[in-house]
Symmetry: C2
């Protein structure tokens, strides 16, 4: 055995899985492998033939096994690390991505009687066909004043566990009957690796109505949703959930052979991709907000108690770091708005300039937009191109832009769009702080911070807060999983005894930070006030024009 | 002398002048000539050297003479019409475009002591440097409750006669002293052609505070503006104004020689380009609204009495057709908004499609936009890219667009912009009708109706009214001038005794009309209600965000 020890992090994503080999001592990434899912996102037809309805999105659990089987040896090889020097494994998953399985863990979609039935497969997080069920859950939840309604900022999502289970029961009761366990893919993969069905508190708390010390809503609640759902917890889900970083079990002999790791290597309980990134961004205490910035933004912050903050996606004890309350909020489109603009709003002269600079559209636009002063171009936008997640929790809101004159230029619109998303983040921060959940500093990870320096500076100027960047911007989740693997190993096993300790050694921020400029912040305070007025006018019912336009749109599209 | 008689119309525009030869019997255009002004719009430096301040726009009156001298023979030649067969001449002009002249009509800018002084030249309608003077006029006018304030919808414009005269007095009092007459170019050219200083009621009424039967505001009003302005009417303007179609005099021997027309040919008093187009669109009675549709839209309608309609540009007795009240309203940007969008908002895929179709951007966009149903794409805009002329009379308002999603396409935005301008026109129509000024039918002329069939159909659908098109879409003003030349000749002189009679014979509409589709009109009624709510919210003081953004913009630009 050599002196250096390593841990593995496995991040099971939407299109592929990533395995990283991390040095326990300092968190350094030694090697990695990315394995695309052969079946990817299944949203048109099942691999075995049957077509899917619109809004469906499934996955094949065999792809997760493949990522493990191919990715682990490949990453070890790239890192030149021997399996025997790996002291722990951690995993994270998209969520909520539940699947129906038999008592032995076999997914129904692997079994010939069920494999042509769409409901037998994993419902991926972005499966959106369970909206009627989500509506019913919210209605019943509100009527009964169920606690989960508050925890989820007033709305249980169609993307989440019980919306999907109820849709399955409504549409294919035979599959419901054949199911022994409904389980998150995050917990299923850990079950596969260890032989232990040990479910994690994070997915259960953020997506599954589970509350620490209280468990699930009552049988009566589930019976009101559907008589046959009454005993779903008792018979098909279970009541035991394990906090993050806990050892779920040791790697089975089967998986040790498959991967080249040691038989019995500690495996941590599952985790959610966004949430596991928080300690990898160095955050294990209250006061700092982690922003996972990409096509959308997830905002994560820790608190010492439970506060009802408006429009949260979830507020879960032990949900991110054991012993603290984890808050999750989000903006449903950020990078996606810019991508929309690049495709649908960028005129000839920017294309021309990009060619001249031999640069991307984004670079050409950023260069021009960076030369503008805040407020100098008179535009203001509402960043609701994909609805508003936090704090309004309203998918029927839409984007707005005002202030245009005959002299308005494309780079001005681009800058206004960036600013609007920054105002969206500030709105979330102010919601936290209004309830005493402190946000003193910001730490960013994800794809956007590297791509868009102007955006980062604008976020610092708008929020009036310094923004630090995670050392591993793009692989934060995999690093976070590896850190939980180190905690599952424990100090005795060559790892760490807590996630805070692991973060101290393994998580780092970059030297580069974005500091707010006082002069710009003062201007943005004025613009933010205008944003707030429009936000409330269009978002809180004073003028529901956006919703009425959507209703008309649906009517006309149906004609 | 042959049987057929002809009249000439001369339209003195912004960049050029147009002469048309019209058959009196049926209004047919037999020939025409367009003569560009050699000095064009003078907005950077005087032809003799001195540079101009920003917002200045001047013209050289020599260019008007040149248009007459070259254009008339050229048009006669093109028409193969002899000068002796021309029985009358009518003219129209941009307005307000005043100039200072000596007692004999000589422009000060022709005289060597003054020609290097910017204030000695014609101030073109779009000279915008007299805003402080306009502000003062409005302040004093409101304090004193002057009648002109009401006539002009609450605001006297910086573009108009006395704003420009007061600026001249403030900035170059020597020129003021040297001026014997301040006169509209519309009246000056008629004075040149006939030797008679006979000013017209249209320019005076719409731009010069003159009210039929009452004249100008009092000496005291003018003294309050500036002590030296007290006697401006008495000494430099005069009190006599002549109704449209009246014979100002006969062509002088000098101009007869220059042009090949007969000595003494009747010349009508001057007119304004937009207003003279009304009878050329067949409208000489109340009930039909004329829309002159181009970069902006002018809306003209006739009424039997004076009503205070919100946001009118002017309400003038005898201002368009003698014996009736002429109402003028307007939208400050229409075609200009589309031109802005073509330049600043059209993405690659539309450019690509235009190349594929071998068509213009406008055509490619129109084709896609025409395939959309009203309301199907969920967008709504406020058409204030260049402020709002009627009914809000507010240059500080700006454009807005809402309803965007990640699926919004360029042609949807284009269609929403067209619809917004149609809602702007409907707002004006409803303002008229709310005060009993009937608008039963619409007649359009100008450049847009030919270019944009989709736009015309949308205007019909939004307003719920049939839209007819003038036979001479692009040369309505010149035809209208010629018609007034025929009235100046009178029936005895081979013409007509009234503009209504002239219109009956000489003005025509096309067979092609746009009729509203009931189903679309019903949808647009719903969308118009939404437009109205936003119009009032942003336009009537409930949320002055657009103005505050402009203030901030000016502050930041100045830093």
């Amino acid at each position: 055995m050599s002196y250096e020890k390593f841990v593995l992090g496995i991040d099971y994503g939407t299109e592929s899985g990533r395995v990283v080999v991390i040095r326990v001592r300092n968190g350094e990434e030694i090697g990695s492998a990315v394995i695309p899912y052969p079946d990817g996102v299944i949203d048109e037809k099942l691999p075995c033939g049957p077509r899917l309805e619109p809004d469906w999105a499934l996955q094949n659990p065999r792809d997760y096994l493949l990522v493990t089987e191919k990715g682990v040896p490949k990453a070890l090889k790239a890192a030149k690390v021997k399996g025997e020097d790996v002291i722990g494994v951690g995993t994270d998953f998209t969520a909520s991505s539940p699947l129906p399985v038999k008592r032995d863990g076999a997914p129904l979609c692997f079994l010939s009687p069920y494999r042509k039935r769409p409901h037998a497969w994993v419902k991926l997080w972005k499966h959106h066909a369970a909206q009627p069920e989500a509506n019913q859950i919210n209605e019943v939840g509100r009527e009964r004043n169920e606690e989960f309604i508050q925890i989820y900022g007033g709305k249980y999502s169609s993307e989440w566990f019980f919306s999907k289970v109820l849709q399955l029961l409504n549409e294919d009761p035979e599959i419901y009957d054949a199911t022994d366990r409904f389980i998150e893919a995050a917990d299923w993969i850990v079950w596969q690796l260890t032989g232990e069905e040990k479910r994690n508190t994070c997915t259960a708390g953020y997506k599954g109505m589970w509350i620490k010390g209280k468990g699930f809503p009552s049988e009566e609640f589930f019976r009101t949703l559907h008589p046959r759902l009454a005993n779903v917890i008792e018979t098909k889900v279970g009541e035991n959930f394990y906090p993050l970083g806990q050892r779920a079990g040791g790697l089975t002999a089967f998986w040790a052979r498959k991967t080249g790791l040691k038989d019995g290597t500690p495996v941590a309980v599952g985790n959610v991709d966004a949430h596991v990134a928080v300690p990898a961004c160095t955050v294990t205490q209250p006061g700092a907000l982690v922003m996972i910035m990409g096509t959308s933004i997830c905002h994560m912050v820790l608190g010492t108690g439970r506060q009802m903050v408006e429009g949260m996606c979830g507020t879960v004890e032990d949900g991110i770091v054991p012993g603290l309350w984890g808050y999750e909020a989000g903006q449903s489109a950020v990078g996606d708005i810019f991508a929309w603009f690049f495709e649908h709003g960028v005129p000839d002269y920017i294309h021309h300039e990009a060619r001249k600079l031999k640069a991307s559209l984004a670079t050409a636009l950023e260069k021009r937009a960076a030369a503008l002063k805040p407020g100098e171009f008179g535009l203001l936008a509402l960043d609701w191109w994909n609805g508003n997640r936090s704090v309004l929790v309203d998918v029927d809101l839409t984007g707005a832009l005002l202030g245009m004159t005959l002299a308005t230029k494309a780079e001005e619109i681009y800058r206004a769009l960036i600013e609007a998303t920054a105002f969206g983040t500030r709105t979330i921060i102010e919601a936290f702080e209004s309830k005493g959940v402190e946000v003193k500093a910001l730490v960013a990870c994800g794809g956007l911070p590297e791509k868009n320096k102007l955006l980062m500076q604008i976020y610092a100027d708008v929020t009036g807060r310094e923004i630090k960047l995670a050392e591993q911007l793009q692989t934060c989740s995999a690093l976070g999983s590896a850190m939980h693997g180190a905690v599952a190993a424990g100090r005795a096993g060559g790892g760490y005894d807590s996630i805070a300790e692991a973060a101290q050694h393994m998580a780092h921020v970059q030297k580069l930070t974005y500091r707010p400029k006082a002069q710009n912040h003062a201007i943005y305070n004025r613009l933010f006030k205008e944003y707030q007025t429009l936000h409330d006018y269009f978002g809180r019912g004073e003028n529901d024009v956006m919703k009425r336009l959507k209703v008309l749109r649906r009517e006309q599209a149906a004609r």
